[in-house]
Amino acid sequence: MKKWIPTIIFLAVAVVLIVLAIVFLPVSKSLWVWIAALLTLAIFSILYRDNPIYRVAEHLFVGLALGYGLALTWWLALWQIALQPLFEEGRLILIIPIAIGLLYFTRLIPKVSWLIRIPISIALGFFSGIGIPLIFQATIFEHIKASLVLPEMFQPGNPWPGIWAIILLIGILTTLVYFFFSRKEKSVLSPVSKVGIVFIMLGFGATFGLTVMSRVSLLIGRVQFLLRDWLGIIVQ
């Protein structure tokens, strides 16, 4: 019984606050907004401690997300692209891709589970053939080109593009040295890899700062929803 006391207190406080809000604030009259708001508060309750209300909201979210995704996939993909044209328009050619797709389920039957290799090999072959040259071009060649230091970057009166290009090049080289050539024991490249660590730490710091900013933005989004759409405290 004791473990339920905080939950009961939380619920009581929530009910009192909600009643006060209804009386004194221009709260939303939409049932869906209310459901969304209460579920948001339920999720936020984890910040206090783990509790049954949070768990209900969490399970509801996972179940709904899965169900929503499944329903959309069934309707927009399986039905509209495969089954409807096959059964209603009689496009028999679709039997081939559908059959190949169904082979994924042979994984569940040990005797014929080897058949799963067919759809996997088709997908792998298709995406490798298309992807490898383009990915090399887009993510390696283009970036090598972009990291070159060229004479035209040093314009009289504005040398900064050139200076930044040099710093970038130093960062790339020293980071590569850190990852590929550094060893435990001291070597000639140890000081170079230490410079690489500085660049890596700068990268981590930037990523951490941006991640914090991102998470706070998400929090603001929910608070805006609660204050504007639900309680009507802030103007539309």
Partner: protein, 414 residues
């Protein structure tokens, strides 16, 4: 020393509470930042590209890919809305699609709302292509023929029957592909659209992804990037300065209020009828119109100046629409509009919508003479969140500094 030790062991719930206050207070009090949000070059380059997306009058569309789900909406939706508003303001044909299946519903909701706001018509000004499986096949296929990948739109209408798709066959007729994503879909657009077809690509991402995208900006594979909620505010500011005048509503009493639409350069906080009249060289007496024969509205005044024009309309017609006081609207047809009629109507729609909101809230307290800055509430949702974002980040920085001091002070003692 004890203080620092105690600080190091502070309950995390207290930190959450302080952070919650830092977020909620600026939102409730509608705190303003001391200066305008300034657009970064990576944001401005997208704006400039859309400004010049149809050189020599060549008809080119913008393709927006809504590749995010509700989890990342607070960061990405302001970006998406700002770009769509810009495209609508410039009358650029708009195609919207999604690579993940959840994106279609978000795209539909935003498009429907903004199209109504801008008086745009489905099929003529914009189209929702919808979703198809296999992102790689979709992106590559659209490079050949868009209507082979999407034979019909989201609602099942053949693309060939939609006027907006006239002359738009593949990426050759697309001036910009813009991907809004909270994951790594941007990579697919770079690799499978920009690399083989050389179509200009930009992206709007959550702040988490920003560091990963900089290499693609450096290599100019992306023409620009919108980074997180702040970039949404930056883009809103750019679009507003270029296409939307400031709107200030001053509520004077139960049945009368002043509406002023003015250029960005004017200081909205010092809104004053007489000074406005002097500023625009108008006779104050001319500006007052008794609009309602029953005398419900007194001293209703409208001043108007559109962007890029030096003219204004002295004889605006403000009429009652319906019986309730808050449902008045400005008649866009009676305006003197030099450049872009649609833009004018869009702005006036904003004004009437705002008044509905304001007066609904003020009905209980009709004597409240508080001036309301409308720009915060109409389409600057990213901007509206900036003070809260700034305050909460300052609080986090403070906690990080205090935490570090506490850590080192405690370690030194040991």
């Amino acid at each position: 020393m004890k203080f620092w030790e105690k600080l190091g062991k502070i309950d995390r719930r207290i930190i959450y509470m302080v952070l919650a206050v830092a977020v909620i207070v600026p939102l409730i009090l509608t705190v303003k930042l001391p200066s305008k949000v300034r657009a970064m070059p990576r944001t401005k380059s997208i704006f400039d590209h859309i400004e010049n997306v149809d050189p020599n009058g060549e008809r080119k569309a913008i393709l927006l890919s809504v590749d995010f789900d509700p989890q990342t909406e607070p960061e990405l939706k302001p970006q998406l809305e700002a770009v769509i508003r810009h495209a609508f303001a410039r009358n650029i044909p708009l195609m919207v699609m999604a690579l993940p299946i959840q994106g279609t519903d978000i795209g539909l909701e935003v498009l429907t709302r903004l199209a109504e706001e801008h008086n745009k018509e489905y099929g003529i000004d914009y189209v929702l292509l919808g979703w198809k499986p296999s992102p790689v096949a979709v992106i590559l296929g659209m490079g050949n023929f868009i209507d082979q990948v999407f034979p019909t739109d989201y609602f099942g209408t053949p693309l060939s029957e939609l006027p907006v798709m006239k002359g738009i066959r593949n990426y050759d007729n697309v001036g910009l592909v813009m991907d809004f994503t909270g994951s790594s879909f941007y990579m697919a657009w770079v690799v499978y659209a920009h690399t083989p077809y050389d179509v200009p690509v930009a992206t709007g991402v959550t702040s988490v992804s920003v560091a990963d995208i900089y290499p693609y900006l450096g290599s100019k594979q992306f023409i620009g990037m919108l980074a997180g909620m702040k970039a949404g505010a930056e883009y809103e500011r750019l679009a507003k300065d270029r296409y939307y005048p400031n709107v200030v509503v001053k509520y004077l009493g139960k049945d009368s209020y002043n509406v002023t639409i003015e250029k960005q350069s004017y200081d909205a906080d010092s809104n004053d009828i007489a000074s406005l009249a002097r500023r625009f060289d108008l006779n104050l007496d001319e500006l007052y119109n008794t609009l309602d024969s029953q005398g419900k509205f007194e001293k209703t005044l409208v001043l108007l100046e559109f962007p890029d024009t030096t003219t204004y309309s002295r004889d605006l017609i403000v009429r009652l629409k319906g019986k309730r006081a808050y449902t008045i609207t400005l008649d866009g047809q009676k305006l003197t509009v030099n450049k872009d009629k649609m833009l004018a109507i869009a702005n006036l729609y904003d004004v009437s919508k705002l008044k509905v909101n304001k007066l609904l809230k003020r009905e209980d307290n009709p004597q409240d003479p508080k001036t309301t800055d409308v720009e915060r509430s109409i389409f600057l949702r990213g901007t509206q969140a900036m003070p809260a974002l700034s305050a909460s980040l300052l609080v986090i920085i403070l906690f990080v500094i205090l935490g570090n001091i506490s850590y080192f002070a405690t370690r030194r003692k040991k």
